[in-house]
Amino acid sequence: MKRMCLLLVGILFLVAGCKEETVEGIGPFIGGVDGVTISFKEGAPITEFSKGESVPVSVLLKNNGEYTIPSGFAYVRLYGIKHDNFGLSPTYTPISGELRGAQKDFLEEGGEQEVSFGSLTYNLDVRGKLDQTLRAKICYPYKTEARINTCASSREISEAGSDEVCTVEGEKIVSGGVSKAPVQLTSFTERLIGTDQVAFTMEFANQHTGEVFNSEGKCEDFDDATTSLSHAGMIKIDLFPEDVICSFVGQDANSGYLNVKDGPKKLVCTMTVNSAADSSYVEEVTVNVDYKYIDSTSVDLTILG
């Protein structure tokens, strides 16, 4: 009995030890990988209905991220079926009204919207019963913002033996340092290069279930086999201060494109440190990432003849 008690106590300690340690967020953002979720409204459509029956179709949208999408910029579309067969529209419908993003310490929940597609009716010949999957997608512009406190230092400063205000080594992303959004800045590290520069290595990745496209592209372009190729995976990155220069494909600038279609991608940037400084100092680097994101949902339908 005594042994049993000891074993139980041991298990309790083990379970307690497994609990993930939570670090209090110190950045300005809530943080996370969610964007806008789309789901069919309960009962719209009902999952089994008869040929000729009129069935309402609606989707619910919820902005779980931290960027507010202005009215008319996000679009929803039904797909995966032959639209004419169901009397549905094949086009993208703009969402009127903004989809407010969550804000730390102010608005913990993002905005919600319901979009109605009217009613579907299947009037074609049904042999016994017909199984179909109705899909809906949302195509929306989104922005990820990261604020990173970098350590502005240089070999000149460090070799001069002055006081070190900050350290160059280590991961610079802190909890809450990147806004809640599907594309994330997943790593930000620094190293000294040359005599008066620091180099930043950043890693960007699509961390959610949807697909990323160029913010400049139209939603219709992403559905086309040919035109989608030039847009797929492209994210636009802007860095501030403007003297942060990054090696983008074809150009060195503080703004450019990176393709995250096939997985996480690294970007290397440099920043010249103020040569007049007699010690290292903290410099906030802002990283803005713009893109369009597509997420989808589906519902299985059975049409009875």
Partner: protein, 297 residues
């Protein structure tokens, strides 16, 4: 323990479903009533009858003809030429795919009498055949993609093989066993789809074009429920294929106008044909007894 086992056995027996067993001919089946005709022998100058039961396992009404005939010449009496009756039968009742009840009808012929049988004539064959017109409908969801190499965010393979549960098939004596689909890339705003169809016929029975034409021709119609396009098939003549074997292959191709990058539409195949069954199958000779041989008048 003994009672428990007994209870389990009773319970399992109760779970075995409905007792109605589907026919293995995929449509209307025919059974001869015992003694009609009398397979143990027919006597000259003595009447005999022919009686058959038809069972309709199809989920739709059936129209057709039931006929009886023998192998002897009309000069000996018996069944002169062919004795036929038209029939219409109610559909079988299915509930969620399970057969609940089957429509059944009995058809009587005769009486018939053999006379003036010549010396040396020892047996006859008496058959009943049923011919009915029917339709077999096959439906399968197929994902249509303008560019077969385009990666969609949902499962969509234009090049696929459909069989078994992938298709919804009417219970019928002829159906589609397998469909192989292949989509060619879009050209001039159209996509060509190539379909390889394997048609399958039940072992018993024959395909006939209609009630008055015994040619083994089966009408085939292939189309998508909502996607415009016409299919033409190699092996079809005027929309008919010769169905003499249990399996027949057809290659069909059609130019489709797709309304979206990728979507699922129902491929609908309709087979129109007549079907004939003969009873008894195989044929069974019936001994005939001449009055002179058995000493009667």
């Amino acid at each position: 323990m003994k009672y428990f086992l007994l209870f389990v056995l009773i319970f399992l027996a109760g779970c075995s479903g409905t007792s109605t067993i589907k026919s293995d001919v995929g449509g209307v089946d025919i059974f001869l009533v015992e003694g009609k005709p009398p397979f143990d022998g027919i006597y000259e100058e003595r009447p005999f009858a022919v009686e058959a039961i038809l069972k309709n396992y199809l989920d739709r009404d059936v129209n057709g003809e039931i006929c009886t005939y023998d192998s002897l010449g009309d000069e000996f009496g018996g069944i002169e030429r062919v004795d036929c009756k038209g029939f219409t039968m109610d559909p079988a009742i299915y509930l969620e795919g399970e057969l609940i009840d089957v429509a059944e009808q009995r058809y009587s012929f005769g009486p018939y009498i053999y006379t003036k049988l010549p010396l040396g004539l020892e047996d006859t064959n008496i058959n009943v055949d049923v011919t009915y017109l029917t339709q077999s409908r096959i439906s399968a969801p197929v994902c249509l993609k303008k560019d077969p190499s385009f990666k969609t965010d949902f499962p969509c393979d234009s090049d696929t093989i459909l069989k078994g549960e992938d298709m919804r098939r009417d219970f019928a004596p002829v159906t589609v066993k397998e469909i192989s689909t292949k989509m060619l890339p879009e050209a001039n705003a159209k996509n060509t789809m190539v379909l390889d169809l394997t048609l399958e016929k039940e072992k018993r029975g024959f395909v006939v074009k209609d009630l008055n034409n015994n040619e083994p021709l089966l009408g085939v119609d292939v189309k998508f429920a909502g996607t415009p396009g016409t299919f033409s098939c190699i092996g079809l003549r005027d929309g008919f294929v010769k169905m003499t074997n249990e399996n027949v292959k057809l290659r069909c191709s059609g130019d489709l106008t797709l309304s979206d990058t990728a979507y699922v539409d129902a491929l609908d195949i309709t087979l129109n044909f007549g079907y004939k069954l003969v009873a008894p199958d195989p044929a069974q000779a019936i001994k005939i007894y001449r009055l002179d041989d058995i000493g009667g008048k």
